[in-house]
Assembly symmetry: C2
């Protein structure tokens, strides 16, 4: 007889997340009440934003309560339905959290076609990370052909799509990633023009070499010293889409950015954004992203952890940059 | 027989500007050649941007060469004309530098009416500083009635106009200034709703008290710890017009901004801007600013240094915040 497994938030991390911040429990599989569906999750997405939800620092979304199931994007199959519209056997993407089974009123669930693209792509390039990339490129950066677009965490779930979308606009696309494996992947597989290894210890020189005409658009996932260095190579009238600051998420004290003056003298626009503000973009971008993936025009890689028990370790590894591409947990 | 007096850049400052960075020389009054005018400057404007021109750090405008006349906005009278359009006796505003007399091809000079507003207002509220304020408010911040608009260096030539323009939009307007005299001036004379004294040593608490609904628009002239603290009180979807960073201009090492995360989680737009990019705004804003000044709807104060020899000391004092309102040098 199957049981449900859930990962709960056990305690709030101070500095780096540890496995002891999580508590893995077995419970009964819940029953769908009238109007609800029961979903068996096939894939759980692990994303940097979850680090923010573990803390009580003011943010755009509420913290996860201690003892509650960790939040997370999921895709799975409806195994029971008492819902007027959703049917048993349909696949749905949503945010059902770090657990094998969940009931839902159907709100926030969207039916997906597992034959169009691989099921797990709906929590990746054809899901929230892909729409994040699309929004940053097409709503904030607005790169013009011939401009240089720089993206940090370039081999990640968001960064990889940013670079490929910018290439389609006719831009020179340069990545920043940690280590030669990730850099080689962005250039050889994703088609970036260049990629700078921030771990090589000469970031400013390497950025100048990789961006001989400076940087017109910067998609920021990292923050800290990477951001501070990139500010020095921005061109006049450049745009920065501020999507993430993963280097600060586990720091006791955030890094102090010293090159703010570049924003002034180069008349830079810096725009912070959160994709969940732009639900309209999901409707506009997802069909296009699905077609680009189905036709092989957008490529991606996945790092897959096997089973929900592996999720905490995989999450910590992702925060440390140990994964390549989209970090997933396979639940079935 | 009159002679010309000029203030030259003698050396580049390291850290704080000193009077030894300037060299005051007497020369012959130049003669207008065919197509030129000779202007006798009546007023020299002293502005924070000049600190940037003294250094070789990359900026939006070229540095002043060692031995060259310091750049600066001026208003004066044409005392000789060999120009087809400009006439002796006309008053012109332009950028003729730290000197009593200058010849000009007429490019960049605009004829002004000394009867409409006081002559020196054309290098202040009805000039570059006023248009800077107008551009920040009406092109970048776009404050809506009921929103809270915060402005640093609130008693300065730019900040004072920012606050009064924002008041006209129906906003709650809060200033940041150094010391009780400046704070009282912004509230009692300029009509700000509140002003926070950053020298009082509890900036965050005072900002929270003065901005109970948070900050929707921030006009930044200062940077450093002031900016870092303001980031903590910004509202979701707020806008920051980054106009100046005077606290860093004389620092050996710029301050490190630690609260960048607020830009992300609050989806803030930060826009650096330089008014000289927006010559269109001069044509649009100056007639409106002149009318607002002439009808007493925009108020301002001046700190006047007497004579060109006093300019270096007055400039250093302005960088230290010793002036109130617009810093001018009276040349005649």
């Amino acid at each position: 007889m199957n049981r449900n497994v859930q990962v709960l938030l056990a305690s709030r991390p101070e500095g780096w997340v540890t496995e002891s911040n999580f508590n893995i429990v077995e419970t009964d599989i819940p029953e769908a009440r009238p109007g609800e569906v029961l979903v068996r999750n096939h894939w759980l997405s692990l994303d940097p934003y979850m680090r923010g939800r573990m803390s009580t620092a003011k943010s755009y979304a509420a913290s996860v309560e201690i003892g509650a199931v960790m939040v997370g994007g999921t895709v799975g199959e409806i195994v029971d339905s008492k819902h007027p519209r959703l049917k048993t056997g349909q696949f749905v993407v949503g945010s059902l959290g770090w657990q094998l089974y969940a009931t839902s009123s159907g709100e926030g669930l969207n039916v997906v076609d597992p034959k169009a693209v691989p099921l797990q792509a709906y929590v990746g390039v054809v899901g929230m990370p892909g729409v994040t990339a699309w929004t940053g490129v097409h709503e904030i950066l607005l790169p013009k052909a011939g401009e240089t677009v720089l993206v940090s965490a370039a081999s990640g779930a968001v960064g990889g799509v940013v670079g490929q979308l910018a290439k389609m606009q006719g831009c020179r696309v340069v990545g920043i990633a940690g280590g030669p494996v990730k850099c080689e992947y962005t250039v050889k597989e994703l088609g970036f023009d260049a990629c700078v290894d921030y771990k090589a210890g000469k970031l400013l020189d390497d950025l100048r070499a990789a961006c001989p005409d400076g940087v017109d658009c910067y998609f920021e996932n990292v923050g800290g010293v990477v951001m501070d260095t990139v500010l020095r190579v921005l061109n006049p009238f450049s745009r920065v889409a501020l999507c993430g600051l993963i280097s600060d998420y586990n720091a006791a004290e955030p890094y102090g950015i010293t090159n703010i003056r570049s924003i002034l003298v180069n008349r830079v626009k810096v725009q912070g954004f959160i994709v969940s503000d732009r639900m309209d973009m999901f409707q506009r971008a997802l069909p296009k992203l699905a077609r680009l993936v189905a036709t092989g025009k957008i490529k991606y890689r996945e790092t897959v952890a096997e089973g929900l028990h592996a999720a905490p370790k995989a999450f910590i590894g992702m925060l440390k940059g140990e994964n390549l591409g989209k970090q997933l947990v396979k639940l079935i």
